[in-house]
């Protein structure tokens, strides 16, 4: 045990206790103070998208090619995008503000809670934000009559774990960030391409082969969309298992990496 610790001296498995929950609870309490404001964006945004892209753009797109109306195609993408956005913003801008401007992390680690637990709490909170936002989007999509399978009830589970994945990736950027403007880079270079190229607004198969491969190999949103679409339409395909494994592995890796990197950043 001692030796393996020394070998991986810069990388350690975090010791997490129930105290992670207390950090989560702090963020939840703040969220609930302004829940009316917090519920609005995830409620309105999908409505705009469904109107503009579903009905507007969708009227130019023949339903024959897809086999169903275009608006139905983008519905799971909207759910997936809200998973990505809420986790990403929570664990970049949100966490950075709490860490750097508010010194909230400094205050918490003065109590029996460790820095690893603070970061884990932030990550689980990011995942929870994804769960909340995407559930609202799901409700909107349902209200538009775009859901055809009871499997849709599994989407919140996907939302939580995919949200955890996006939170952990975001937290790695937070560990790298010298200042808050830094987040423009992952925003433009990572989130925006994913928003457009992950099988969100058109099927991946339209893309050149190498881009299809690339999208499946490195874009987390691709796999989120595959799962959301499969569950929403009620056709469970074997490729979905691959996506589950992909998300699982990436989540675990970035969960551990982000906690280690943040600890390194904060505890000198």
């Amino acid at each position: 045990m001692k030796r393996s610790n020394r070998v991986a001296s810069s990388f350690k498995l975090p010791e997490l206790t129930y105290r992670v929950w207390k950090v989560w609870r702090r963020n939840f309490d703040v969220f609930m103070k302004t829940y009316k404001v917090n519920f609005f964006p995830p409620l309105l945004e999908p409505i705009f998208y469904l109107l503009a892209m579903g009905f507007g753009l969708g009227s130019f797109i023949s339903a024959v090619q897809l086999g169903y109306p275009y608006i139905k195609f983008i519905a799971p993408a909207l759910v997936s995008i809200s998973i990505m956005y809420s986790a990403f913003f929570e664990c970049t801008y949100g966490s950075f503000v709490r860490m750097y401007y508010q010194k909230t992390f400094d205050a918490i680690i003065t109590t029996p809670i460790s820095i690893e637990e603070v970061i884990a709490g932030e990550l689980f909170w990011g995942a929870t934000r994804s769960l909340i936002s995407s559930s609202i989007v799901l409700a909107v999509v349902a209200a538009f009559g775009l859901i055809s399978s009871p499997l849709v009830l599994l989407i919140p589970i996907v939302a939580f774990f995919a949200g955890l994945m996006f939170s952990a990736i975001a937290m790695c950027f937070t560990a790298l960030a010298p200042n808050i403007d830094f987040f423009n880079y992952p925003g433009f270079l990572f989130i925006t391409p994913m928003f457009l190229l992950s099988g969100t607004f058109f099927p991946l198969t339209i893309l050149p082969q190498f881009m299809q491969i690339l999208a499946q190999a490195v874009l987390p949103l691709t796999h989120t969309v595959i799962l959301a679409r499969g569950l929403m339409f009620g056709n469970f395909e074997s490729t979905m298992l691959l996506s589950i494994v992909w998300i699982g592995v990436v989540t675990l890796a970035f969960f551990l990496l982000s906690i280690n990197q943040m600890k390194k950043k904060l505890i000198k």
């Binding site: 207390k22 703040v30 508010q102 909230t104 400094d106 205050a107 003065t110 029996p112 505890i267």
Partner: protein
């Protein structure tokens, strides 16, 4: 006086890359005392404090709190310590009372008990009227009091106060001093860092003076004053004749020229300067008691640190 050692450091060192912030220091803090860490900016006081409450790991050396090593069981140490940090880090997302109850939750204090303690703390620190106000609306003095209240929510045995009165007006400062004294009376062990020597002299049983990461002197405020600067200090406007007269009259005295003033430190008992004033009547002369600030400046120099 035989006292129980509560905090003990041996060869304690902390490095940031190449910079040695705390350089191989030894010290003890005894149960029930108020121990002051004095030193210019960058002396290593805050780093030492942060190592005691386990948020910074020492680079080398031994540091124990109540017999527990900081590297072995930080959680148990943090449970018995209350911290008032130099940087205000109250939670701006919560009201005054919620700051206390949320903080209590971090310590596993049950909800009803947390509420009881929080209300009692607001009363103790005269913050009851601000109970439901958000942090941004508090004055600096109120924020400081709330930070102290928060530090006490876990009923700590040890209280770490890192510059608790910096930037406060005299009223707020005296209120905090009163509270610190009453906490000391109730048996809390206190470690205090401050730049105000009157504060250290007022509150501390013992002071450690740090400079460049080392502890350069230690003792009770009165002993340090007697040892390093004596009883009385006379200050006179600079004048060659005055210097000559002083050298002639007090060959043993230490002379320091600061700007356009001469400071004369005499080790003799009170009243030695009266004869000077008889020979050299000047309105610019003042005679005062030697104090801890004289000691501090003598030991750490007058050079600016930042």
């Amino acid at each position: 006086m035989v006292s129980e050692i509560l905090i003990e450091a041996q060869n304690l060192t902390k490095k940031y890359d190449d910079f040695v912030a705390v350089d191989n220091i030894d010290f003890q803090v005894y149960r029930g005392e108020c121990c002051g860490f004095l030193g210019p900016n960058g002396a290593g006081k805050t780093t030492t404090i942060k190592m005691i409450h386990c948020v910074l790991p020492p680079a080398s050396g031994k540091l124990t709190v109540a017999g527990i090593s900081v590297s072995e069981n930080p959680r148990n140490i943090k449970k018995m310590i209350g911290v008032s940090p130099q940087e205000e880090n109250l939670d701006p997302d919560f009201s005054v009372i919620t700051n206390l109850t949320v903080y209590a939750r971090y310590f596993d204090i049950p909800k009803s008990e947390a509420r009881k303690r929080a209300e009692a703390m607001l009363k103790f620190f005269q913050l009851e009227e601000k109970r439901d106000v958000i942090i941004a609306q508090l004055s600096t003095g109120m924020k400081r009091r709330l930070i102290l209240a928060r530090a006490l929510i876990n009923e700590p045995q040890i209280l770490l106060l890192d510059e608790p009165t910096t930037g406060l007006d005299p009223q707020a400062r005296h209120l905090i001093w009163d509270k610190v004294r009453s906490l000391k009376k109730s048996g809390v062990t206190i470690i205090l860092t401050t730049h105000y020597m009157d504060e250290a002299a007022e509150l501390c049983d013992r002071t450690l003076i740090m400079d460049n990461g080392k502890i350069i002197e230690e003792g009770t405020p009165t002993d340090l004053v007697r040892k390093h600067v004596g009883e009385e200090v006379m200050e006179v406007d600079y004048d060659d004749k005055a210097v000559a007269t002083i050298n002639n009259k007090f060959p043993e005295a230490r002379l320091e020229i600061v700007g356009d003033r001469i400071q004369v430190f005499a080790t003799e008992p009170h009243g030695v300067f009266t004869s000077f004033l008889e020979d050299f009547p000047t309105r610019s002369a003042t005679v005062r008691n030697a104090n801890l600030e004289d000691v501090f400046l003598k030991l750490t120099g007058r050079k600016l640190r930042e």
